[in-house]
């Protein structure tokens, strides 16, 4: 009878390689250099964190209505609370602010099906196109007014986060299609179209956005007949869109170049024309490839909207700055800018997470 050999049950790993100790040893104290870096990091946290927490939370003032409430030496969040509505809506008249809320709510409700997996993609495409074309008009009618009994709210009264979102939203939705067209144009075999697109892209990429905004607000009015004034916001919107469209074109072109020649040939073999080849075969693959680049451009655009402060539009950044110049609230610029930074971060981080989600969802297996 053969003697069966039962292997000894495996021993537990050494105590120093598992649990908290093991993790620490592996990750924080694995080599002399790492030990030094870890200790340095702990020291830095020790030096910076407690004062920061004390300033932002422990010593901070939350209650009250004026600067007298902010004598504690910590952060004065009262300043933010008092100005919160203004930071959100700018100088949009008090009684009309529901219109802004309504426009935002409408967008959320309208766009919600696009993010649901259960909805058929055919419906999604129709809804998406409908939103893309219809929503700007609805939103403009709501915000600007002047029809269906709504009083007119001049664009100069728009401000705060509302204005930031308007500029970013219009910039994004207009820059992407423009970018795709320009990228296709740049790769076109028709010399006229190609030259036009290359010139356009290189011109707008070659000038800083701040110059574009300056030109639109300082130079342009001099060349228009007296009394004819473009809306300042419109000028900024056009500037931002053209500028970001050029950037977007180069991002999309990167994707187009990554599509193997075989795909084009396969499309040709199937008898597809130019637009069908592009629309059904090439662009879906190319755009998917460059999602990180597109979102990168979007995030940059979102933050670039703060540049409109140099032409006197009161976006989130500028409205915070304005509030810090009120003699009743002098000296709270730190709180204001911290708040603005948080809001920007929230939106940009949200966009970045969404793009990662989208990439995972569209992942079709040739990702390494």
């Amino acid at each position: 009878m053969a003697e069966s050999r039962v292997p000894h049950a495996s021993l537990p790993p050494p105590a120093s390689t598992i649990g908290v100790v093991g993790w620490l040893r592996r990750n924080l104290f694995s080599s002399p250099l790492n030990i030094v870096l870890t200790l340095l990091a702990v020291y830095l946290l020790f030096v910076t964190l407690p004062p920061l927490l004390r300033w932002a939370f422990l010593d901070a003032s939350w209650r009250g209505d004026d600067r007298e409430a902010c004598r504690s030496g910590g952060a004065c969040w009262v300043f933010i609370r008092v100005h919160f509505e203004q930071f959100m809506y700018g100088f949009y008249p008090d009684g009309q602010r529901w219109r802004v809320n309504a426009a935002v709510l409408l967008l959320i409700l309208g766009a919600a099906p696009l993010f649901m997996r259960a909805v058929s993609s055919k419906f999604k495409i129709r809804l998406g196109l409908g939103l893309l074309i219809g929503y700007p008009f609805v939103a403009f009618a709501l915000l600007k007014g002047g029809m269906i009994g709504l009083p007119v709210v001049d664009t100069s009264q728009w401000g705060g986060l509302l204005l930031t979102l308007v500029i970013a939203g219009v910039g994004m939705t207009a820059a992407l299609p423009l970018g795709v067209l320009l990228a296709l144009g740049r790769r076109s075999r028709m010399p006229a179209i190609q030259t036009l697109c290359v010139t356009f892209i290189e011109f707008w990429r070659g000038v800083p956005l701040i110059t574009v905004l300056f030109m639109s607000s300082v130079m342009l009015p001099l060349f228009l007949p007296v009394g004819m004034n473009f809306d300042k916001l419109l000028r900024a919107l056009i500037g931002v869109t053209l500028f970001q469209g050029a950037y977007m074109a180069e991002v999309v072109r990167g994707g187009l170049q990554a599509i193997p020649k075989g795909q084009f040939e396969a499309a040709a073999a199937l008898g597809l024309g130019y637009w069908k080849t592009m629309g059904l075969i090439v662009l879906p693959q190319a755009l998917k490839l460059v999602i990180p680049g597109i979102v990168n451009t979007f995030i940059a655009l979102f933050k670039d909207t703060s540049l409109v402060l140099i032409i006197g539009l009161f976006d989130l950044m500028n409205i915070v700055h304005n509030a810090t110049t009120n003699p009743a609230w002098l000296g709270f610029s730190t709180e204001g800018y911290v708040f603005a930074a948080l809001v920007y971060w929230l939106f940009c981080f949200g966009m970045s997470r969404y793009s990662q989600n989208l990439e995972k969802h569209l992942h079709t297996g040739h990702k390494r």
Binding site: G90, L222, P225, N229, I310, F314, A323, N326
Partner: protein, 339 residues
Amino acid sequence: MNPLKTFTTAAILLLTASGVAQAGATLDAIKKNGFIKCGVSDGLPGFSFADEKGNYNGIDVDVCRAVAAALFGDPAKVKFTPLTAKERLTALQSGEIDVLSRNTTWTSSRDSAQGMNFTGVTYYDGQGFLVNKKLGVKSAKQLDGATVCVQAGTTTELNLSDYFRANKMKLTPITYDKSDESAKSLEAGRCDVLTSDQSQLYAQRIKLAKPGEYIVLPEVISKEPLGPVVRHGDDDWFDIVKWTLFVMVNAEELGVNSKNVEEMKKSTNPDVKRLLGVEGDKGKDFGLATDWMAVVIKQVGNYGEIFERNVGQGSPLKIQRGLNALWNQGGLQYAPPVR
């Protein structure tokens, strides 16, 4: 001629042409619109800023309100356009605004080559110094060897080095881009002195944790007369803006303010009678209502009231009248008589 020159010439020609075309038209357009388009600052403590309700406040803002009161009898008939320092002149030249009331310094080139007319001085400003009391400095002449915080790329920086060179003192300037930064570094002791226009020094002082420990030195080392501006080409409009300011100064001199204006109409002083439109029609000359001056005073106030309310004792800034006191009280504010 190189292309750039051609371009510039064309631009200037275009500008002059449009300037001629609009002669006298500004006032007509304002009357047609029913409101004044007024350019103000995009946030300057005490001069123009929007409060938490979104209402504009400040000396510069009140000047426009007063002009609206003069024209329409209603100080609310103003549309404010916040402008940055760089856009302000273009906005006026291009007709985007009718009057610029944005703490603009009256200089020869602006008054001539740039096609502007300054209508008066609402605030005599000048560059000053803010120091910590601990230094024991009583005069700017004692600042030899001081480290001075100054905003980069401004005339302030040039004035500073001129002043130190003229007085044979050693200077270590530290330049900053934002006024907030320079206030913070004065507080941290990175510089001994902070220099800026005096009107701004008081605002800077409030930002400090212990404002009481800092003083503004008495010396003023530059002239910065700030006032409203209109563009060349419409003299009637120029007159109205100019005289609105004079009316407010005259009112203070004669002791007429927004509270007592109705009683003062019964005054026997002929100057007061003329000012308030009780005697003689001072409106006809301007194409305005007979009692327009009284309306301005009643609805906006006299110069002293505006000053105290926005930057003086009635405001957190607590700026002394100084140069902006009336001429008979040791200041420079002086207005031609109404007669």
